[in-house]
């Protein structure tokens, strides 16, 4: 009797765990089925090479490149902000800061990551853009610069927290050996600790990039809704995610080609983040083995 009960419980728990597999399969199936139907009407060659994205206009073009360039441009700006600041914070907190300071600051920085992204969007549009317009009068009301900068601020804790954990995990003996040779803290940090923790730092950067590419509300609010193939950060652009939001807010008929565009855009986004996440998982596994 007891054995049967134990078995039933184990199977119930297992079913719960298997739901996560079903979710992954569900995502892949849903995106693929809708995308396959999309590509039966639009050639995949046009999708990858056409430089215009105008599915909601009368003259339709289905080139993903403008959405992709918008996504990569905002993400690039975000990483340019978050990487130097996040990495410096992690090195400072791990190598220089007093213990009490580190303990107090880390959760405060992590608070930055817990703020809903719609709030950041508000900030980019209402505060940062007018502020930047004081320096660059040509800056459009919607632009990838403010959206990118604010997104960068949001992902600082992703980089600083994970990198700091990696730096902190470097054995103290390495640090002491370096000090014993007469190296300063700075020399020790950059020549010994950072190289030793490099895989953890790379993981944090990859995760931050993946987060930036998938970020939706900040760019939907502050970067605009004009897909264009450009690297100019001062003009309105549209990201993949912002396009999906734009279509979802409108009244698009289920089963229409317009409806399927969001799945074609979605599968492009999913492919990028999936590759990045898999890469970071591989690196993390390798790195765990190194220290255990």
């Amino acid at each position: 009797m007891r054995k049967i009960k134990e078995l039933i419980i184990e199977k119930t728990l297992m079913t719960s765990a298997l739901i996560t597999i079903a979710v992954t399969l569900g995502i892949i199936l849903v995106l693929s089925i809708e995308a396959i139907q999309f590509f039966s009407e639009v050639s995949i060659f046009d999708f990858l090479t056409d430089t215009q994205w105008t599915p909601l206009f009368t003259e339709k073009h289905f080139g993903i490149l403008p959405l992709l360039s918008g996504t990569l441009l905002t993400s690039f700006i975000a990483i340019s902000v978050a990487l130097p600041i996040g990495l410096t914070i992690s090195i400072y907190l791990s190598e220089y800061a007093p213990k009490a300071f580190r303990k107090a600051v880390k959760p405060l920085l992590e608070l930055l990551a817990s703020i809903p992204t719609v709030v950041y969007g508000f900030f980019a549009l209402v505060v940062v853009t007018p502020f930047l317009q004081g320096f660059f009068p040509d800056l459009a009301g919607f632009n990838s610069l403010s959206a990118g900068i604010v997104m960068g601020i949001m992902i600082i804790p992703y980089i600083s927290s994970i990198s700091e954990d990696a730096l902190h995990a470097v054995p103290a003996s390495l640090r002491e050996a370096s000090y014993g040779m007469g190296a300063t803290k700075l020399q020790t940090a950059f020549k010994v600790i950072v190289p030793a923790a490099s895989s953890g730092i790379i993981v944090s950067i990859i995760l931050a990039i993946s987060r930036a590419i998938g970020e939706t509300m900040i760019v939907a609010i502050a970067a605009g809704q004009q897909p264009r193939l450009t690297l100019d950060p001062t003009v309105p652009v549209e990201t993949i995610t912002a396009y999906i939001v734009q279509v979802s807010l409108g009244d698009v008929q289920h089963g229409s080609l317009e409806y399927r565009t969001i799945f074609a855009a979605g599968i492009t986004l999913f492919t990028f983040t999936f590759l990045l996440n898999t890469l970071s998982y591989r690196i993390r596994k390798k790195y765990q083995e190194k220290y255990e």
Binding site: K5, E6, E10, S16, A17, I19, T20, I21, V23, G26, I27, V30, L31, I85, T88, I91, Y92, L93, Y96, V105, L108, L109, L111, L112, S114, I115, P116, T117, V118, V119, G121, F122, F123, V127, I153, I156, T184, K185, A189, L207, S210, G214, T216, M217, A220, I221, T241, I244, V245, S248, L249, H254, I262, F263, G266, L269, T273, F274, T278, Y281
Partner: protein, 284 residues
Amino acid sequence: MNNIQKNRWKDQAFKFWGIFCTMIGLVLLTIFIGDILIDGIRRIDWDFITDLPSRKAENSGIYTALMGSIWILALTTIIAFPVGVAAGIYLEEYAKNNKLAGLLEINISNLAGVPSIIYGLLGLEVFVRIMNLGASVLAGSLTLSLLILPIVIVSTREAIKAVPQSIKDASFALGASKWQTIWHQILPASGGGILTGVILALSRAVGETAPLIVVGALAYVPFAPQSPMDEFSVMPIQIFNWISRPQAGFIENAAAAIIILLGITFIMNGIAVYFRNKWQKKWK
């Protein structure tokens, strides 16, 4: 200046740069919150919380959105909490080191990195269309439950991992079965940690906008939802809607609603931290 002095000087310079960078983050956080408080605090009164949305900024309130958020939060908790904790227990206590465990682990790590808007597309197709739930509170909650599932599972595992082996051994030595050990020993001992993770996951869910927009949550709902099958809006979508309007009055509304949303988020985070500290002390 000789080499040693130069290196010491560089070391000091980096130290100040480090302090500066750390402070930037904190200063920006303060400016954000300060600015939003200035923009919105005067708008908050009892009417703002109890009024229905309106075309006029000064008559608009957040009642329907707030009720929508509470509905979503309640249903998401009911769905994600048992499933996530069960999956966490399975991974930590049953499926150690077999092939399935490896697959599940890679899979969950990957799901945690899937952009939230992709969950919206999944929910739109599966819950809204195939299961025919429409743009209902239930469809939204199911979508957000899948979104936070990886976070709940990972934190459950962490909490269970922290329970000392001696407690399990003692329980088994007294003749308890595996499930009795889990139910009577491991879960009570790791409850604080699990609760911390669940609250953090829910605080993320309450701020989510994009997946619910994709699922079809509305910016304007005349009434608060009465059942899980009703249409709904949530706080972040109401804020997004107000931000998108040009009139200054709506910006003030957005700032006021943000104050309330941030209040909810920070309180949830605070409770989570409280539980974490309380629970950590127990094992020291």
